[in-house]
C-alpha cells in the first residue's frame, strides 16, 4: 500500500510488516558484531533496540540475592543501566569533541551492540558458577571474560576508529577500553549469594 509521498530514505514503511523488518535488522547487527568485518551496516541503519535488550539482560543477570525478597537487586539493576548508558553517552561526547564525524546515535548503537560478547561471557560465567567454587573456577571465568573483552574491543574499534583522524585514534579508543573494562570487572566479580 503506497503512501502519497514515497520517500527513498525509509524503505520499510510501505511494507506491511515493519516489526519483522526491525527484528531482522537487529539480528543482522548481532551477527555483524559476532563476525566483525569492514561493513557499514551498524553505522548506516542504526537502532538502539539491541543495546536496550543487552542492557536489560545484563542487568537482570547481574542480580544478587533471591528474586522474591523485597530488598532485591534494585540498586544493582539501576546501577548497570546507568553505567552502560551514561558510559556510552560519555564516550560518544568524547569522540565528538575530538572531531569525529560519527553521529551521536550511531556511536551509541555501536557501543551498545558490542556489549554482546560480554553478555555471552556473563552467561558462561553464571553456568560455570554452578559448579564448585575454587581457583580453577576463577581461572576459567577470567579466561572467558578476557577473551570476550578483547572481542568487544576489536569489534567496536573496527567500527569507531575509522571516524577519527589518524592522530586521534588512541584518544578516542581508550575510553571504549575503560568502558568495557568496567563491565568486564562487574561480570568477573559477580557472585550470586
Amino acid at each position: 500500500m503506497a503512501e502519497a509521498v514515497e520517500s527513498p530514505g525509509d524503505p520499510g514503511t510501505t511494507t506491511p510488516r515493519p516489526l519483522m523488518r526491525d527484528l531482522k535488522a537487529v539480528g543482522k547487527k548481532f551477527m555483524h558484531v559476532l563476525y566483525p568485518r569492514k561493513s557499514n551496516t551498524l553505522l548506516r541503519d542504526w537502532d538502539l533496540w539491541g543495546p536496550l535488550i543487552l542492557c536489560v539482560t545484563l542487568a537482570l543477570m547481574l542480580q544478587r540475592g533471591s528474586v522474591d525478597s523485597e530488598k532485591d537487586g534494585g540498586p544493582q539493576f539501576a546501577e548497570v543501566f546507568v553505567i552502560v548508558w551514561f558510559g556510552a553517552v560519555t564516550i560518544t561526547l568524547n569522540s565528538k569533541l575530538l572531531g569525529g564525524n560519527i553521529s551521536f546515535f550511531q556511536s551509541l548503537c555501536v557501543l551498545g551492540y558490542c556489549i554482546l560478547p560480554l553478555t555471552m561471557a556473563l552467561l558462561v560465567c553464571r553456568l560455570v558458577l554452578l559448579a564448585e567454587p575454587g581457583p580453577i573456577n576463577f581461572m576459567v571465568r577470567l579466561f572467558v571474560v578476557i577473551i570476550m573483552f578483547a572481542w568487544s574491543i576489536v569489534a567496536s574499534t573496527a567500527f569507531l576508529a575509522d571516524s577519527q583522524p589518524p592522530n586521534r585514534k588512541a584518544l578516542a579508543v581508550y575510553p571504549v577500553f575503560l568502558f568495557y573494562f568496567v563491565i568486564s570487572w562487574m561480570i568477573l566479580t559477580f557472585t550470586p549469594q
Binding site: 539493576f77 564525524n101 553521529s103
Partner: protein, 208 residues
C-alpha cells in the same frame, strides 16, 4: 429539511461504495483503525498504571521495572512506526546518506480526496491526547521521584520521559513542518492577535 438532505447524501454514497462503512461526510468522526488506536493508548497508560501501582502488584522491584521498560519500548515502537502513520498520516525517521551525514526527516501525508486517506477527527484527537498527556505525566513523576528521594525509580522515569518525549517532539516537528514554519507560524499568530486587539480598540473608540 436538513434531515432529508443528509439521508439523500448517505443514499448517494452507498450506491458507489456499498461495503464502505465510513461516508463522505465532512465530519470524519469514525475511527478507522480501532486496533491501532487501542494499542496507542494501551501501552502508554499501562506503563503509567504499573508505575503507580507497582507496590501493590508485586514486591519485586525488578519485575516492575522490567515490565515498565518493556511497555515503554513497545509503546515507542508502536507509536513511531505504526500509529502515527495510520492515525494522523505523519512519520519521522533518521536517514544517513552516502557521506555518513545524518538527516532527520519529518513528513506529513498530503490530504488526498481518496477514501480512507483523510485523517479522522476522532483518531486525531485520541492520538494527540495520548501523545501529549503521557510525557507530561512522566515529567511530573520525575520531579516527584527526585524530591521524595525514591531515586531507584529515577532510571525508569527518565527513560519514560526520553522515549515519550522523543515521539512527542518528532510528531510535533512533522505537524508543524520545518523549524522555519514554526517561527513564522508563531509570528503570524501573534501578528493576528495584535491586529485584532488594535482594530477592536479602534472600533470601540469610534463607536463611542
Amino acid at each position: 429539511m436538513l434531515q432529508q438532505d443528509s439521508t439523500d447524501d448517505t443514499e448517494d454514497v452507498s450506491l458507489f461504495d456499498a461495503e464502505e462503512e465510513t461516508t463522505n461526510r465532512p465530519k470524519k468522526s469514525k475511527i478507522r483503525h480501532p486496533v491501532a488506536s487501542f494499542f496507542h493508548l494501551f501501552f502508554r497508560v499501562s506503563a503509567i498504571i504499573v508505575y503507580l501501582l507497582c507496590e501493590l502488584f508485586s514486591s519485586s522491584f525488578i519485575a516492575c521495572m522490567v515490565t515498565i521498560i518493556l511497555l515503554l519500548s513497545c509503546d515507542f515502537w508502536a507509536v513511531k512506526n505504526v500509529t502515527g502513520r495510520l492515525m494522523v498520516g505523519l512519520r519521522w525517521w533518521n536517514h544517513i546518506d552516502e557521506d555518513g551525514k545524518s538527516h532527520w526527516v519529518f513528513e506529513s501525508r498530503k490530504a488526498s480526496p481518496q477514501e480512507g486517506k483523510t485523517v479522522s477527527e476522532a483518531e486525531s484527537r485520541i492520538f494527540w491526547l495520548g501523545l501529549v498527556a503521557c510525557p507530561v505525566l512522566w515529567v511530573v513523576f520525575a520531579f516527584s521521584a527526585l524530591f521524595s528521594f525514591r531515586v531507584k525509580w529515577l532510571a525508569v522515569v527518565i527513560m519514560g520521559v526520553v522515549l515519550q518525549g522523543a515521539n512527542l517532539y518528532g510528531y510535533i516537528r512533522c505537524k508543524v513542518g520545518s523549524r522555519k514554519n514554526l517561527t513564522s507560524m508563531a509570528t503570524t499568530y501573534l501578528g493576528r492577535q495584535f491586529l485584532r486587539q488594535t482594530t477592536g480598540d479602534t472600533q470601540t473608540s469610534s463607536g463611542e
